[in-house]
């Protein structure tokens, strides 16, 4: 069953021309999909369509998720500087009318799951880049979403931190199995985390090709050294090279 679908969607910004499409994308419940493509191909636009934050110029977006069942993590952590990590994470619950005490308790739980239990009282300025990203992830998870959208969530982090976060994210996914769509520039990250890697052409983005990675999720240790990983990464890279030339 599809959780969300984009059907022949096109986005045209007045004055800037076509940004996306026509694009078809269907997303099943619990699935992890990576969107890869050159800069300016409309990946982030596709994500905003799935989130319902933007409407397509043409085509149709179908979403089976109710309000509060979709969460988004942006490229920067976008935490409110005047709130503690705990208050940032409990914000979506409080806005939805959950009592403050219960919201804060659930926020502590979500912070614990991303390994930030000890930093609940810290302000964003006191957190490192990786910790701030974890707090943003906790804020996205606290509502128990069915659809988790990540817009280049690890792009600003160093290689070691991004690998650790990728493993943590997969472990969290294994618990509650939300569908995840994430946008990335990094082919290896896409292949490591996703069951399906969708490559988009340069803007306006269309599907240039799709690669399935059948190895079970979360990926076993040492998966990056296996032949299936390297084959999939090479295939995605080749599709991407073709998409950029086109």
């Amino acid at each position: 069953m599809s959780l969300a679908t984009l059907e022949r969607v096109e986005v045209v910004y007045p004055g800037r021309g076509a940004a996306l499409g026509p694009l078809d994308l269907s997303l099943r419940a619990g699935e992890i999909v990576a969107l890869v493509g050159p800069s300016g191909c409309g990946k982030s636009t596709a994500l905003r369509l799935l989130a319902g934050l933007e409407a397509p110029t043409r085509g149709e977006v179908r979403r089976l998720t109710a309000r509060g069942e979709t969460s988004v993590v942006f490229q920067s952590a976008t935490l409110a500087p005047w709130l503690s990590a705990r208050a940032n994470v409990s914000l979506p619950l409080e806005l939805a009318g959950v009592a403050r005490g219960e919201a804060r308790t659930r926020a502590d739980g979500a912070l614990g799951r991303v390994g930030l239990g000890a930093a609940a009282d810290a302000r964003p300025v006191q957190l490192s880049g990786g910790m701030a990203m974890r707090a943003a992830l906790a804020r996205a998870l606290v509502t128990g979403p069915k659809l988790l959208l990540l817009d280049e969530p690890f792009a600003a982090l160093d290689e070691i931190t991004r690998r650790a976060l990728a493993d943590d994210l997969l472990a969290i996914w294994a618990d509650t199995r939300p569908a995840i769509v994430f946008v990335t520039h990094n082919v290896e990250e896409a292949v490591y985390m996703a069951a399906r890697v969708v490559v988009l052409t340069s803007g306006p983005g269309r599907v240039a090709g799709e690669t399935r990675i059948d190895a079970e999720l979360p990926r076993p240790p040492g998966f990056r050294a296996t032949a299936p990983f390297r084959e999939a990464a090479e295939k995605v890279s080749a599709t991407l090279a073709g998409a950029m030339a086109a």
Partner: protein, 252 residues
């Protein structure tokens, strides 16, 4: 320490040069009194100057309070609608660019000869209004666009968005606006006192006017010095308030 010693030494050297220069050049007292004469005048009229400084300060602070409440309330109101914001802005700008001296006589007439202090507070409030209004309006629009998107996603109500996102985002801008406004409120008060020109509101401007009319130049200098010290003290207080507020806001 060096930050205090260097300017203090320079001021000491300049004052000594002034004292000696005025003495040998034989400049008459009413034209340029010596620092010692000014010091004497300051000592002699200290109680009076202190009372006048307090009157000016009290009027300036009342004006600042009125201006801040009105400016924040108006900025919050217009932030709800772009049409409203566009409608209000030219009026706010017109109010800001009109010199306070030009409209002061009108306010003195309105407030009545018996209540010059009301006219003075109203005029100083007009001068102090704009930086707070402009800062608040800019601050309310400065919220992180991605946080705005998250509030869309969470289905926040307009009131929730205002109280939990835009107002806290605006706080540093509001405090900065209030700091600028505090200086303007003092300037506005002094100018308004000057134009009101009666002894009804016995602030520092009146002391300067009075001493000037009597050619008591040393007293005039003493009153100017008191005014400068008071304005500097207010500025310092607002600097500290701003720093504290930012530490609280940022958590560091």
């Amino acid at each position: 320490m060096r930050a205090v010693i260097a300017p203090a030494a320079l001021i000491g050297v300049l004052l000594a040069a002034w004292e000696i220069g005025a003495h040998y050049a034989g400049v008459p007292e009413y034209l340029l009194p010596t620092p010692l004469a000014i010091g004497k005048a300051l000592g002699a009229s200290a109680p009076l100057l202190l009372a006048s400084a307090w009157r000016t300060l009290a009027m300036a602070l009342q004006a600042l309070a009125v201006a801040a409440v009105a400016a924040i309330a108006l900025a919050l109101t217009v932030s709800l609608s772009q049409t409203l914001e566009r409608a209000v802005r030219p009026i706010a700008v017109a109010l800001q660019v009109t010199p306070v001296v030009a409209i002061a006589p009108l306010f003195v007439i309105w407030a009545g000869v018996d209540h010059p202090d009301r006219a003075i507070i109203a005029l100083a409030a007009i001068v102090a209004f704009f930086p707070v209004f402009s800062g608040t309006a800019r601050g309310l629009a400065s919220a992180d666009p991605d946080l705005e998107r998250l509030f869309d996603l969470y289905g926040a109500s307009p009131l929730q968005r205002l109280l939990r996102l835009r107002l806290p985002s605006a706080l540093p801008f509001i405090v900065e606006g209030a700091k600028v406004a505090s200086g303007l409120a003092i300037i506005g008060t002094v100018v308004a006192e000057w134009v009101a020109g009666s002894g009804g509101a016995q602030g520092l401007a009146w002391r300067i006017l009075e001493a000037g009319n009597r050619l008591e130049t040393a007293k005039m200098f003493a009153a100017i010095l008191a005014l400068a010290l008071m304005a500097a003290a207010v500025h310092l207080v607002f600097l500290i308030v701003e720093r504290r507020a930012l530490v609280w806001w940022r958590g560091r």
